[in-house]
C-alpha cells in the first residue's frame, strides 16, 4: 500500500498545474446541471455564458493597457453543498481561477462563500439571496441581486392595497432561502395589517401537497404566499388548482419566474412571482447593453426567452467587468476597492454594495418587481404588475377574474 500511495502522491505532485495565460481571466463556478435546482441554475449559467461570449467578441476586458479574454471553468455540483466546497477548492487551487461566480441557491452559495473567503478570491453572487453569509464579516463576497428579505415586500404591498383584510397562508419549502423570505414577509404582512392564518414549511422533496392544500383550505385563507424553488413551487400551484383551493391571491417564489411554468396551463393563471428582472422593465443603462439588446441577443443565442436568472447571471459578469475596468487592474485588492465603490445602472437595474463591515457585500440598490401570469391572445404571458410606475399591465385581483 505504501508504495502505491507514494506513486499516486508523486503523480499528483508532478502533474503540471495549468497556469492561466497572462491575458486571460479565469472565472470559476459550479452549476447545478443535475439535481433539484437544475431548472433555475440553467438560466443563471446561460446568462453568464452569454456575457462571456459578448465580452470576448468585443475584444475582452480592458484594464491597465491589456485586454483580458474571459475563460470559464465550470463543474456540475449536482445541487449538493458538500460537492460545492470540494469543487470550489479545486477551482481555486487546481484551475487557478482568479475570480468566482456563485452557484445557484442560497444554501450552495453559503457553502461556496466559505472557500472564496478562505482563499481570498472575489466571488460575485447572483444565485443566493439570503443575507446570512454577508453578516459574517466576509470581505470578498458581493451580491448583485436583491436580498431575500425584500422578495415579497412588493407582493404584500400590492395585496394589502387590493384587500387590506386578506387572510394569508404562508407555506414554504424548508430551505434557507425560502425560510428567510417568508420570515421577513411575515413581519411585513403584519405591519401591513394582514392576518397570517397559517405559517408552515414543508420538506423540499415533497411531491404530494394534498394534505397541505386541505390544511390551507381549513385555515380559511384567501391569499397564498410561499413556495421555494422550481419543482416544489410548480407542484404546489398545480395541486392548489386541482383541489380548488380558490385562493384570491397566489404569490409563489422562483418557480413562476421560469417560462416552463406556463406548461401548468390554468394552474398558472393569475399566479404572481417576485422577480429580479423582467424584460418589460427598462432601465437606462450607464454600462453594458440595453434591455432590448440583451433580450434579443439572448434569445438569438439560446432560442429561449431570458428570465430573471439569466439577467442576473449576465449582470454578475457585467458588474465584475465594470469593476475591473474601473480598477484598471485584476489585483484582487484593487478590484475589491472598485466593487466597494460601484454604483452603476445596467439593464438589470441599479447595483451598489453595502460597505458597512457588518453587512459587507450585500446588495443595497437593486429593486425587484412583481410579475403575474396573465392571458393575452389565448397565450399565457408574464406581465409586470408592481410597482405601478413600472407596470406593463394592470394587476388582476382576485385570481378568478383572470379567466
Amino acid at each position: 500500500m505504501n508504495r502505491l500511495c507514494l506513486l499516486a502522491a508523486a503523480a499528483t505532485l508532478f502533474a503540471a498545474p495549468a497556469f492561466a495565460q497572462d491575458d486571460t481571466i479565469t472565472i470559476g463556478m459550479t452549476n447545478s446541471l443535475t439535481g433539484p435546482l437544475n431548472v433555475d441554475s440553467l438560466g443563471l449559467q446561460r446568462g453568464e455564458e452569454y456575457w462571456r461570449d459578448e465580452v470576448n467578441a468585443a475584444g475582452g476586458i480592458k484594464a491597465g493597457g491589456k485586454s483580458y479574454k474571459v475563460k470559464f471553468v465550470t463543474y456540475d455540483d449536482q445541487s449538493v453543498g458538500g460537492r460545492v466546497q470540494q469543487l470550489y477548492t479545486r477551482l481555486v487551487n487546481q484551475d487557478h481561477a482568479q475570480f468566482l461566480f456563485s452557484p445557484y441557491s442560497s444554501g450552495l452559495t453559503a457553502a461556496a462563500a466559505v472557500i472564496s473567503e478562505q482563499y481570498g478570491k472575489i466571488m460575485i453572487d447572483a444565485g443566493g439571496a439570503e443575507k446570512k453569509p454577508f453578516l459574517l464579516g466576509n470581505k470578498y463576497l458581493f451580491m448583485v441581486i436583491t436580498q431575500a428579505d425584500d422578495y415579497l415586500a412588493g407582493a404584500i404591498k400590492a395585496l394589502a392595497q387590493k384587500n387590506p383584510h386578506a387572510r394569508v397562508a404562508m407555506v414554504y419549502s424548508d430551505d434557507p432561502f425560502s425560510k428567510t423570505v417568508l420570515a421577513a414577509a411575515k413581519g411585513q404582512a403584519k405591519d401591513a395589517g394582514l392576518d397570517v392564518v397559517m405559517d408552515e414549511s414543508y420538506a423540499p422533496s415533497t411531491t404530494d401537497f394534498g394534505p397541505i392544500v386541505n390544511k390551507i383550505i381549513s385555515s380559511n385563507a384567501d391569499a397564498f404566499l410561499g413556495g421555494g424553488h422550481y419543482s416544489d413551487g410548480a407542484t404546489l400551484a398545480r395541486q392548489m388548482y386541482d383541489q380548488r383551493a380558490n385562493m384570491k391571491w397566489i404569490s409563489i417564489l422562483v418557480a413562476p419566474g421560469d417560462d416552463k411554468f406556463a406548461e401548468l396551463g390554468g394552474a398558472a393563471l393569475g399566479v404572481t412571482v417576485p422577480s429580479q428582472w423582467e424584460p418589460q422593465v427598462s432601465y437606462k443603462p450607464d454600462f453594458g447593453p440595453t434591455t432590448a439588446e440583451f433580450a434579443k441577443g439572448f434569445e438569438a443565442k439560446f432560442h429561449a426567452k431570458a428570465d430573471y436568472h439569466a439577467a442576473s447571471g449576465y449582470a454578475s459578469g457585467a458588474i465584475l467587468q465594470h469593476a475591473i475596468e474601473q480598477a484598471q487592474s485584476i489585483e484582487p485588492e484593487k478590484v475589491v476597492a472598485a466593487l466597494n465603490a460601484t454604483d452603476v445602472t445596467t439593464f438589470f437595474g441599479r447595483v451598489k454594495f453595502s460597505t458597512d463591515p457588518a453587512s459587507h457585500g450585500l446588495q443595497v440598490a437593486h429593486q425587484m418587481v412583481l410579475a403575474q401570469w396573465q392571458k393575452s391572445d389565448d397565450k399565457l404571458v408574464r406581465q409586470v404588475v408592481w410597482p405601478q410606475q413600472a407596470a406593463s399591465a394592470p394587476l388582476i385581483y382576485p385570481i378568478s377574474a383572470s379567466q
Partner: protein, 344 residues
C-alpha cells in the same frame, strides 16, 4: 446473517486467525506500515506548501476514516449499515454548534462530538441491533432519514438553514490559511487512529468474536461469543472516529446544513469502498478509499464522464459483487498468498 455461502476468496480473508497474538502491537510490521502511510500523508503535501495535493489527500483521509469504521460493522460483523453518515453528520453538528454558540475550543468540541455520538449510537444500537440482515439495513436507512428530518426542524441547530461559522473562529488557529493545515493534520491523525483501531480490533479476541458473528451469528452465540454486547460495542466504536472527522470536516467548511450532513450518498460510497477494497481487511479498505476518491475526483471533473459518474460507480460495484466478492485484497491474496502474512 444465516449460513452464508461465501466464495473461497472471502473465506480466506475472514477466517484467518490473528497471526502473532500476544505480542505487543508496536512490534508488528503492519503497525509500522500504517505509521508509514500516515507519515506520507503528513509529509508530501507539506513539502512546498502544496495546497492542491493537501485537498485531495484530505478527502481521501475522510473516506479512509469513514470506510474503515464502517468496516468494523460491515466487514467484521457482517451488518450492513446504510446509516454511517449519521455519525459523521451528528458529529459535525455537535462540534460546529459547540464551537460557534458556546465558544468551545475545537479540541474539546471534537471530543464531545465523538463521545456524544458514540453514546447515542450505543443507545440506538441496543434497539436496532436486534434486527438481522436486511432488516437491520432498512432500519439504518430509517434512522438517517428520521435524524435528518428531525434536525431540519431543530431550531437550536438552525433548522434547515444550518449553522454558519464566522471566519473569526479560525483566528485562534492562526487565520484561515493556517487553520486549513491544522485541520488537515488533525484529520490525518484521526485517519491513522482509525487504521490502528481497525487493526487492533481485528487481532483481538473482540475482533475474532465479530468475525465469528459475521460468519454465523447463531453458531457464534452458541460457542460463547456475547453477541449482543459485541455488536453494540462495535456499532458504538464505529461511531467515535467518524463523528470526530465530521466535526473537523464541517469546521473546515465553516458551514453545516442537514442536507449535506446527512447525505445518504456518502454512506453508500463508504459501502462501495469496503466492497472495492475487500470487506474485512484493513489494507483493502484504506486502499479502496484512496482509489475511489481519486477515481471520483477524475469522473466528477472530466468533461466526458461527469454525467456518467454514477454509471461508472454502479458498473464497478456490480462487477465486484458479481465476480470478485473479495474485492481488491481478495484478488491480491489469491494471486500472492504470501501477502496475507503482511497485509491485514
Amino acid at each position: 446473517m444465516d449460513s452464508p455461502i461465501t466464495p473461497q476468496a472471502m473465506e480466506t480473508v475472514m477466517i484467518r486467525r490473528p497471526s502473532v497474538r500476544g505480542a505487543a502491537i508496536i512490534t508488528r510490521p503492519f503497525f509500522w506500515l500504517i505509521t508509514l502511510v500516515v507519515a506520507i500523508f503528513i509529509v508530501t503535501p507539506a513539502i512546498g506548501n502544496n495546497v492542491e495535493l493537501r485537498e485531495s489527500l484530505l478527502l481521501a483521509a475522510v473516506y479512509i476514516t469513514l470506510a474503515s469504521n464502517l468496516n468494523l460493522m460491515l466487514g467484521y460483523a457482517g451488518y450492513i449499515n446504510f446509516g454511517s453518515i449519521v455519525f459523521f453528520g451528528l458529529g459535525g453538528y455537535i462540534c460546529v454548534w459547540l464551537v460557534n454558540s458556546y465558544d468551545w475550543p475545537l479540541w474539546l468540541a471534537l471530543l464531545a462530538a465523538g463521545v456524544g455520538v458514540s453514546a447515542l449510537s450505543f443507545i440506538f444500537g441496543i434497539g436496532i441491533l436486534r434486527l438481522r440482515g436486511p432488516f437491520f439495513a432498512l432500519s439504518t436507512i430509517g434512522i438517517v432519514e428520521g435524524v435528518q428530518a428531525f434536525v431540519q426542524n431543530f431550531t437550536p441547530w438552525g433548522g434547515s438553514s444550518g449553522i454558519y461559522i464566522s471566519p473569526a473562529v479560525f483566528a485562534p488557529l492562526g487565520g484561515p490559511a493556517r487553520a486549513l493545515w491544522v485541520v488537515y493534520f488533525a484529520l490525518v491523525a484521526v485517519m491513522g487512529l482509525s487504521l490502528y483501531l481497525s487493526y487492533a480490533i481485528k487481532t483481538s479476541k473482540f475482533g475474532l468474536g465479530l468475525l465469528a458473528i459475521g460468519q454465523n451469528e447463531d453458531a457464534a452465540a452458541i460457542l460463547g461469543v456475547p453477541t449482543p454486547r459485541y455488536k453494540a460495542l462495535a456499532y458504538s466504536a464505529s461511531a467515535f472516529l467518524p463523528a470526530i472527522v465530521g466535526g473537523l470536516y464541517f469546521f473546515k467548511g465553516a458551514f453545516i446544513q442537514p442536507s449535506d450532513a446527512f447525505d445518504l450518498t456518502l454512506s453508500t460510497e463508504a459501502i462501495v469502498i469496503c466492497m472495492l477494497g475487500g470487506q474485512g481487511t484493513v489494507t483493502g479498505v484504506a486502499l479502496g478509499a484512496y482509489l475511489y476518491e481519486e477515481l471520483r475526483g477524475y469522473l466528477l471533473t472530466s468533461e466526458t464522464f461527469s454525467h456518467f459518474q454514477l454509471v461508472v460507480a454502479g458498473a464497478l460495484l456490480l462487477l465486484i459483487v458479481l465476480f470478485f466478492p473479495g474485492g481488491l485484497m481478495g484478488f491480491i491474496y489469491s494471486r500472492f498468498p504470501r501477502t496475507q502474512r503482511l497485509l491485514e
